[in-house]
């Protein structure tokens, strides 16, 4: 402190005799040092007071009470300043924890896309913020059955991620019933309804493909309808299915639906982050999605997913406002 005091006195007296920009610049660099050494505002005022007293000894007594007054005021600023420093540190700790949590979530909710010889599967899932509120769960029984759950937790960030882990374990314990979409939704609904608060919900589209017989059965819990592209008719069909969001009422029922997939048919499942064009409400998102699929129907399912993401991101001027997830199955 003594050293800082004499440095300050020197810089101040230089300035008092020559009010140049250079001397002010030296003062700025010195201030940086004070901040680095955590010198509080009240101490700075005191240093100043003592320096003035030494440079102008004849003025002591006149200004001193005013400086003491300022010290008194600055003590409180100093408290706020130190709290701020400490909050910054806490924030850094939170960020660290958040980073760890994000990594855990990535590992925990990692989706492995099955590689099957008879059907082509693609998937893309891009979080809007650090934590993804969308989740895709695949399950397959050799080359006979493939089931897929596309889910979206209402809400974002950490609460959504926690809820998602619950959905994942729910789905895993339901492996025995993977061929029955409505049953799966009914059970998961009860799990979520019991487990989370009133404003937390999950939407889920659950589909199961009987690969040998080309029958795609599905059910939906308040989820964005999937799209079925019929290659033979060159037309899209919306796979609408009645069913309430998961977690609203404990005894919800979900309708069972099935379609027959012909050669080269495509099924597209997605979350509302894909269809909701918030920044371009003038555009019809479904029309854009369907025409992109038709234009690129010959590329692989994975490439098609990537194209959808890249193109929609471009249309929305790189301003996506939600988690973005697409799953594509090509028969």
């Amino acid at each position: 402190m003594k050293q800082l005091e004499s440095q300050y006195e020197k810089i101040l007296s230089d300035y008092m005799f020559d009010q140049s920009e250079k001397n002010l610049y030296i003062a700025q660099n010195f201030t940086r040092q004070l901040i680095q050494k955590n010198i509080s505002p009240e101490d700075v005022v005191n240093i100043h007071k003592n320096a003035v007293g030494k440079i102008f000894p004849d003025r002591v007594g006149e200004d001193q009470p005013a400086y003491d007054f300022l010290i008194e005021v600055m003590v409180h600023y100093g408290m706020a300043h130190r709290e701020h420093q400490s909050l910054l540190q806490i924030q850094a700790e939170y960020e660290m924890e958040m980073k760890i949590a994000t990594n855990i979530q990535k590992t925990l909710l990692k989706t492995v896309v099955p590689q099957l010889s008879s059907i082509d599967i693609g998937m893309i899932s891009i979080p809007f913020r650090k934590m993804n509120g969308d989740y895709v769960h695949f399950l397959h029984d050799r080359e006979d059955y493939l089931s897929v759950a596309v889910t979206d937790v209402v809400g974002k960030g950490v609460p959504a991620a926690l809820c998602m882990s619950m959905v994942k374990y729910g789905l895993e314990t339901l492996e025995y019933a993977y061929k029955d979409p409505s049953y799966v939704l009914e059970v998961i609904n009860r799990v979520i309804e019991k487990g989370v608060d009133d404003s937390m919900f999950v939407s889920m589209f659950y589909g199961c493909l009987d690969i040998q017989n080309s029958i795609f059965s599905y059910a939906s819990a308040g989820h964005e309808p999937a799209l079925h592209y019929s290659a033979k008719q060159g037309k899209f069909f919306s796979l609408e299915a009645k069913g309430l969001l998961l977690g609203v009422l404990s005894e919800s029922k979900y309708s069972y639906n099935e379609i027959f997939l012909e050669d080269k048919d495509i099924v597209v499942m997605m979350t509302d982050g894909v269809t909701e064009f918030r920044s371009r409400e003038d555009l019809n998102s479904r029309e854009i999605i369907t025409s992109l699929i038709v234009e690129n129907k010959h590329v692989s399912a994975q490439q098609l997913c990537n194209i959808l993401y890249k193109q929609i991101e471009k249309i929305l001027d790189f301003k996506l406002s939600d988690d973005f997830t697409v799953v594509i199955i090509k028969n």
């Binding site: 009133d198 404003s199 919900f201 308040g222 309430l244 969001l245 919800s252 509302d272």
Partner: protein, 111 residues
């Protein structure tokens, strides 16, 4: 991006008018406002959403939570003035079968 809600009580009914965009950023305020509503036995509450020009799923969650509380406390909630987009949102999520909802058109007809 802003959201406003104000209430008016008339003939033992509570009318709420919501205006603006309901998203992750404005949702917590809407939740607080709705949580502050005291629901008495048999109270009818009508929320007018005709001036809501955007709502995401977080907003949806808030209305469902409010609806569930009203159900528990024996009040009645009705949402009116929904635009086609909002109407579609409530249909996809299956909430239109559960909650009392009127679209924009019906409100116009009643006038």
């Amino acid at each position: 991006m802003d959201m406003m809600i104000h209430f008016k009580e008339m003939d033992n009914k509570l009318y709420g008018f919501v205006e603006g965009e309901i998203d992750t950023f404005t949702a917590s305020r809407l939740r607080e406002e709705l949580e502050a509503v005291k629901i008495t036995e048999g109270l009818e509450i009508e929320l007018n959403l005709s001036k809501v020009n955007y709502m995401d799923s977080t907003g949806l969650g808030i209305f469902v939570a409010f609806y569930k509380r009203a159900l528990r406390e024996n009040g009645k909630v009705k949402l009116v003035g929904l635009s086609n987009r909002l109407q579609r949102l409530f249909e996809i999520t299956g909430l239109s079968d559960l909650m009392d909802i009127e679209t924009d058109k019906k409100v116009e007809l009643r006038k």
